[in-house]
Symmetry: C3
Subunit: 221 residues, 3 copies
Amino acid sequence: MQFEQIKAHLMQLDSAAISDAMDSLYISAGLAGIVPRNAGTKIAGPAFTVRYEPIIPEQGNFLNAGNYIDEVPTGSIIVVDNQGRIDCTSWGNILTFKAIQKGIAGSIIYGSVRDLSEVRRLAYPLFSTGIYMVSGKNRTQIAATQCTLNIGGVEVSPEDWVFADDNGALVIPKQHLLTVIERAGNVDKTEQAIIEAITNGEDLVTAREKLGYAVPWKPVL
Amino acid sequence: MQFEQIKAHLMQLDSAAISDAMDSLYISAGLAGIVPRNAGTKIAGPAFTVRYEPIIPEQGNFLNAGNYIDEVPTGSIIVVDNQGRIDCTSWGNILTFKAIQKGIAGSIIYGSVRDLSEVRRLAYPLFSTGIYMVSGKNRTQIAATQCTLNIGGVEVSPEDWVFADDNGALVIPKQHLLTVIERAGNVDKTEQAIIEAITNGEDLVTAREKLGYAVPWKPVL
Amino acid sequence: MQFEQIKAHLMQLDSAAISDAMDSLYISAGLAGIVPRNAGTKIAGPAFTVRYEPIIPEQGNFLNAGNYIDEVPTGSIIVVDNQGRIDCTSWGNILTFKAIQKGIAGSIIYGSVRDLSEVRRLAYPLFSTGIYMVSGKNRTQIAATQCTLNIGGVEVSPEDWVFADDNGALVIPKQHLLTVIERAGNVDKTEQAIIEAITNGEDLVTAREKLGYAVPWKPVL
């Protein structure tokens, strides 16, 4: 499947259905603690990964901020591991501006972000664990880009896809993309069939058993 | 007092006044960490309680989701104890749909919930400690329904009433309902009298002392 | 500089630029965990500080609430240290009403607040770490007013200025006000110049180096 097709399929799904499909593969996919900073945004795309690490610079030796955004391809989603830090940020207004200019789909920051007013005004799809106003400069630095991250026990590698909506963010390993798209589509159909059944007056327990809610990623019977 | 009368009285109050009335009885009532998922909703009703417990199923043995909603009476509020878990959910779109269909007043989940977009679109009164997208299936199961819950040291039993608004959620033990309604009404009147006094230029310290803010649940002097 | 001039300067800035200016002085300024309760509000003003301390009163001995608001000057920002407590509140509707009446600019509560519905209806600039409905009465009492607070390692003294917006809250020690205003203004100009450069197609790494983003508080070259 081509990039645009994959993206189109995923954008018709939601994180709950994708998560159920990942459950069918016994793979943990959810990134804990990630919250949307613009409610109602939904993103899907291949991850561009960035790992930061803490630093304590000498006084007076002001370091340049880490730069990676010039290398991020259009359509990617930036995934930053800043260890969930709450004492400094690793996303702000300039990165938001450049990301929009480059057609980057959104950012998922395991850490804090700043410049919320502008992020909201520009409606940029930003997801993070925290909000603060203190710069990451001289507090954190880039350790690696396009490396494998481990966020709360869940790995994110370059070319894995990530997805985020109002429920949070999760990872789809690239080798499972087609399976997950198919199974998540089935989850949606199973849930839709259950909602139709209960609309017609069926008990939930009956509808769930009859329509296979225990394995919602299988084709609806 | 009849159900409808009790509900009408409570719906004219707010959680702060009810909490003050509970303070007059030396009973802890607040359920810690509960946040509204649709700002501006307010609910009051008898609790239908559900306790979940963690499970680790065998691979390949996919369990059915717990079902209890078919037994919940109209007008009830579902109170779920899922131990405040952040790694899986115990509320989502199908339950929301069924709850609205059955005239359930709302849900208070000590744990995480999913399908936020639909919950918001349907304006269902949902309160929880967390948001996530991972299913509870095969991670948590129903241990008991209509049992006594202990949520952070506060007990909730069937037929106790629960109340929730933008400040959070709290419990009114059934044997104290009438006392609490009366005293919370007095709290409101005391606060209104203080606001009137300060509108007329009185110092807050004077207004509070004169109008008995230390015991606001007593009839206004 | 006069009060009105200082305030006018600060109100044209944001917490991120002020934080960067504080970084140039090697002073920690951010108050951890403070969240706006009315999104989009921004406040700047001298701190009126209040420190609460936990109490366990005897049963039946209901204490008066602490009162300090009658002494707070117009234009001040109330900063309350209630130790970030989540089990009781130290701000609510009556204080909100009186604060608006007195022309107090806003409140920053290191602890929980209640009466969110009214705070929102009145659009009062309130910032806090938590939300709950349980009164502080008989749980916390005023230990001191106009004292030096230590909030997560950051000191706030009377006459220090505080600033808060959607990113959170921070402190500007009074002796550094003029320096911070000047340098934060430079930060804004540096960031604006970088945004212009990337709008004109420059790479971010080039724009940041050329325009001195490592020391954004220096006059733009």
